[in-house]
Symmetry: C2
Subunit: 338 residues, 2 copies
């Protein structure tokens, strides 16, 4: 039997090359060997986008289009929308009793995010508790593998704590611990070279960008400000063009020899950027074409089928959880007769 | 149209005379003029009974038996179990984004309860957030009237804050503010005269107590320790027997003249206790008989019908809430096709 893997995205904008390098490519690989669930985490996104829900809502079909465009196959990967699975909210209610407030406040990732988001004194309860909701997502599907970045390790740790505590208190083994899969790829830097590529910093190349826009963005990419004449030795470290070539050019040796040449002097930014542009255009053209071939109705249908499949799995887990607590008073009849 | 009222109990044990005086009698009155929902708040009870869920589970049918025994009529009052209505959990998830952690920590009732329950450093997130879950209960049924004790006023206030914030952020008026109805009756003191009657202090007379047990408990009631000889003047203030006569004897004048006599001296505790015992036996006998006539299957069926009715109301509210946020992606189809 294939192991269950759970991944997903907070739908707060279209996906970009950072997502492709960071997670999408590995999901495409994983879908043939894992029973992969991919969640559009709209409920989680709303914990800090609650005043901008339009953004979340509008992003959902865009993100699904990105998924399919890069090669995720709904026959192999179950794509679903978090808000359409009430069982996840119910699990969260029961898990919230097993996690103390101080445990949540100690979570280093949440701590850093709270500081960054400038909630001030008004940290929404929903935001502080989102790691509990993540535990619901992970456990509902009995995910064994959760591909994450390093910053998400505390979430998996908390989820496993909840699993152990629940199983111990309610004398059951219905919940399963999961294992974090650290992604191999490092975070892709933004085209400005300042921080990781992100929508909010407006420094990313989106999978849906037109060929012209991609070319323009490559033109403005940060290289080495000290590299003025072609003959000057240039810095490879911190040079965004090389970072992107590393991530997306398929000939490592070629890039290695270009780096050497650039460091010694004699290789101009124009030539380099032209190579990167060719690389990205070749990469993005089929993605863009696939994306344009998708219509809203089909995307909704794909998502509907995936959500229904995910719902029936979550339903089963919730049933086990409520049985362990002892609160399936009408057995399944209430749901059945509806 | 009759106004909607919501009340309920945390099922953590059988109901006693304190409940009868404090809420049950007024619910029986209200059911003919209000559209009354009565919730068995098992999810809320689990926020501090999560390690003792058996107690909650076992109490549910007992409490429903108490309800019916005192005259609550399932044709007039909708009796339902909180945990069987997933919509309440979903509402809580969305409301949690609208309430800050510091707002929750300022709640005086929760603060006092946390101190009393000795959670120490481990206040469960679920416990701190239970007022948000209460707001879900109130708003799901669009309750206009919520009968409460004084200590519950901060909960209604928070619920109304959530209503206003939700309606403002999502440009809707689908949620309704509610009004607290302060109950007229004061809290019934325990038979030991030390604190209010409660199961945990073992100082209550239960609706299900046998006639013998009631008589025994009346015998041990705290009166006035200084009232030794019948001819001694006795204290009416703090005298539990008088508190119970005030609450349950139907002739106010008679009690008033007995109080006078007791204060002046010349009225013995034995006579008084005998009067109270007669009063309580007359009150409790039909309740006990009705209680014994109920079987588990019928109770479950009553509760099943009530829960289904409540569920369809909550479903409608959740649909409006999710529409306002914009996240009814499959319209109602996902639920319909299930």
């Amino acid at each position: 039997m294939r192991k269950v893997a759970l991944t997903g995205d907070r739908p707060t904008g279209n996906l970009h090359l950072g997502h492709l390098a960071g997670s999408l490519r590995s999901r495409v690989e994983m879908q043939s060997s894992f029973d992969q669930y991919i969640m559009l985490a709209d409920v989680q996104a709303l914990t800090d986008y609650f005043e901008n829900s339009r953004k979340v809502v509008d992003s959902i079909l865009e993100v699904i289009a990105d998924y399919l465009a890069v090669g995720l196959d709904p026959e192999l990967s179950t794509i679903f929308i978090q808000s359409q699975i009430p069982e996840l909210s119910e699990l969260t209610m029961y898990y919230m009793n097993l996690v103390s407030l101080s445990r949540l406040e100690r979570n280093p990732t949440v701590k850093a995010e709270i500081a960054q988001k400038k909630f001030g004194e008004s940290v929404p309860a929903g935001f502080l508790c989102y790691p509990i909701s993540q535990a619901s997502d992970i456990t509902a599907f009995k995910a064994e593998i959760v591909p994450v970045g390093e910053d998400q390790l505390p979430m998996i740790e908390l989820s496993n704590e909840i699993v152990r505590r629940f199983n111990r208190i309610y004398h059951t083994n219905c919940l399963k611990e999961s294992t974090a899969h650290l992604s191999k790829t490092t975070r892709l830097v933004g085209i400005d070279g300042k921080a990781k590529a992100s929508k909010s910093l407006n420094n990313a190349i989106f999978l849906s960008d037109s060929a012209e826009l991609v070319a323009q963005k490559v033109q403005t990419m940060y290289t080495d400000p000290g590299h003025i004449k072609i003959s000057d030795p240039g810095n490879v470290e911190g040079n965004v063009v090389f970072a992107y070539l590393d991530a997306f050019h398929d000939n490592e040796e070629e890039i290695s020899s270009l780096k050497k040449k650039y460091s010694q002097g004699g290789l101009g930014d124009t030539v380099l950027k032209s190579l990167l542009n060719d690389t990205l255009q070749k990469l993005l053209q089929p993605i863009r074409e696939k994306r344009e071939s998708l219509n809203k109705k089909d995307l909704l249908e794909i998502c509907y089928v995936g959500t229904n499949k995910a719902k029936s799995v979550a339903q089963k887990t919730l049933y086990e959880v409520k049985s362990a607590i002892g609160i399936n008073f009408f057995d399944k009849s209430l749901n059945r007769r509806n």
